[in-house]
Symmetry: C2
Subunit: 347 residues, 2 copies
């Protein structure tokens, strides 16, 4: 940071909609492929292997805090890790994204999902949280995270990422009771997982409902909202919950109704309009287009200023991208963005 | 149709927001791979070859009118045909979607785009319009179409379909004057193309801005809206223009500001809320999720009823999907949907 000193309380205070000396900022996937430090580690280890080595995963969690000057660290992990102990055959195939070898397409498949204990089967994540929290030494808070039940369900059902989510939508239309059982299983598992992260030291948690934007408002309300609401309601009270989704400009009110202290929005909606829609009794996170980071620092600064102007100095804005940072993003532009946020929002 | 007789004026009257005996319906990609008749032809001919044989393309245009009982025919063609005479090396690679072998990434590339005459280089499309219109014999109106400048630009720049539109957004950020030249070129070409279709017999036209939903409202307003507005303003007056996009729940007001007599919306927003946003001085088209057609006829009927209820009998609703029909869709479900629309909306 050039002119601002990191305030280690800014991020958590903004989650609670308290006044902060400047707008806190972090980036989704801030620990990732766009960073040389990370690429070096990935040359030696597979993605899943890195997640399963708490020493390395904690190191990756900390790198962007040092390198970028962001106001929070986010656990290095993946939303799909929770699916592995369910026995569906998770694999991160090189170049092709995640694959689920035994997708869940019926009531029988749902009942075949294995029960598991977070402390046992996902102990490596919990260990990473502990190590990262200790290494941070209070410099900035640590955010834990998990996939939301719908996004996890869609991966389980489609067997990977999807364009049209045909199998997912077919399941909730054709066998609503199997769908409910699946969503209840996921909802409990996610809540237990997040609570274990919190017990291990996570000071806030983000729920990623990355693919909720494929749904109509009616389907979201009927098939998703009740389960996301249960998940959020079961999270240890007092710890801020960020409820994130993309492509949901048409269903922000329902997203907000499902819960969360902070609503994360993408760039496809103006931040001021989004905040008005979800209500000023929640904080808001967002919402620069990740592709804006490919522009010049001058252009980035002007786009940062626009987002800040739309937040209009109201307490409770956390600056972020609208989705994860892209692998080819120039690091120096990310640094310029973080600096611009801090400088232009200094109060 | 079971209980309704096709009213050959219903579609055009709805475009003008006049009362109709029932809500007219047609489907994007209604002539396509989900139909056996079409698959048989595709087994013999390549996609581009079919487009270039007016006799066959006109036949494909008519098939769904007979088979489904829809209220309009849409020209069988593709939004990218207009790019071929520009000399960029368009190819429909089997299974991989369209490829542009010489993408446009700079001012120099923009200036290299070839000028062309619609009547000469795209005469096969014009011929198809003539033949289809004649064969329809007034049974239902014929819709012509083209890609909107932004969607065409994104294909030209990315070299095919894209996930993040990095090169497209980089071009308008880094070289706005090259971007403007490209959009002006596309805007004139599209207007000339649509006017030629109209002169040949198209009774309405749809402008597909399929990928506008990747943009922030600010970028849409600055880099897209003026050019879409020019295109629409240059279309032969008196012929209804349907302005279609997807994923644009957060920028519907700007889409509407760019023009169009009918605004096409996808399923990610409730039809009533969308119509309120764009204003009741335009007609609206939509908005069933294409995946709903994989559900049972009973479920389809209930979802059709919900969309119709949201249109609340206001004149100016054209029923459609929120995007193109998917290749695996069962034809009998499409027939059930069309019947449900006609029956449930009969006034």
């Amino acid at each position: 940071m050039t002119n601002t000193t990191i305030n280690n309380q800014a991020f958590l205070a903004a989650c609670r909609r308290e006044k902060t000396p400047y707008t806190p900022v972090w980036l989704m996937r801030q620990a990732g492929r766009y960073m040389e430090e990370y690429r070096k580690l990935r040359a030696q280890y597979g993605f899943l292997e890195l997640c399963k080595r708490p020493e390395l995963a904690a190191e990756i969690t900390l790198t962007p805090v040092e390198r970028l000057g962001v106001d929070a660290a986010i656990l290095f992990a993946d939303i799909l890790l929770i699916l592995e102990p369910m026995g569906v055959g998770l694999e991160y195939a090189a170049g092709d994204g995640p694959v689920i070898h035994r997708p869940v397409r019926s009531a029988v498949d749902v009942d075949r999902l294995k029960e598991f204990k977070v402390d046992k089967e996902l102990s490596f994540v919990i260990e990473t949280v502990k190590k990262a929290r200790a290494s941070l030494g209070g410099k900035v808070p640590l955010i834990g995270f998990a996939g939301a039940p719908f996004t996890l369900a869609s991966y389980l059902i489609e067997g990977g990422s999807s364009r049209n989510y045909v199998h997912t939508k077919q399941l909730f239309c054709s066998d609503p009771s199997a769908w409910i059982r699946l969503m209840q299983r996921l909802s409990s598992a996610v809540a237990a997982y997040l609570n274990a992260q919190i017990a291990a030291g996570a000071q806030a948690v983000q729920l990623f409902d990355s693919w909720a934007g494929c749904l109509s408002p009616g389907d979201y309300e009927q098939f998703v909202l009740p389960h996301t609401r249960s998940t959020i309601a079961a999270i240890t009270s007092g710890v801020p919950v960020i409820h994130f989704s993309t492509g949901t400009s048409g269903l922000l009110k329902s997203i907000r109704a499902a819960g969360g202290d902070v609503i994360g929005v993408d760039w496809r909606v103006n931040l001021d309009e989004a905040w008005q829609q979800v209500g000023y009794d929640v904080a808001i996170q967002g919402n620069l287009d990740p592709v804006a980071l490919f522009a010049s620092p001058k252009e980035i600064r002007s786009r940062v200023a626009d987002v800040l102007r739309r937040a209009s100095d109201r307490p409770g804005h956390i600056f972020n991208l609208g989705h994860g940072i892209l692998p080819e993003t120039p690091v120096e532009n990310v640094v310029a963005m973080v600096e611009a946020v801090h400088e232009l929002s200094a109060r």
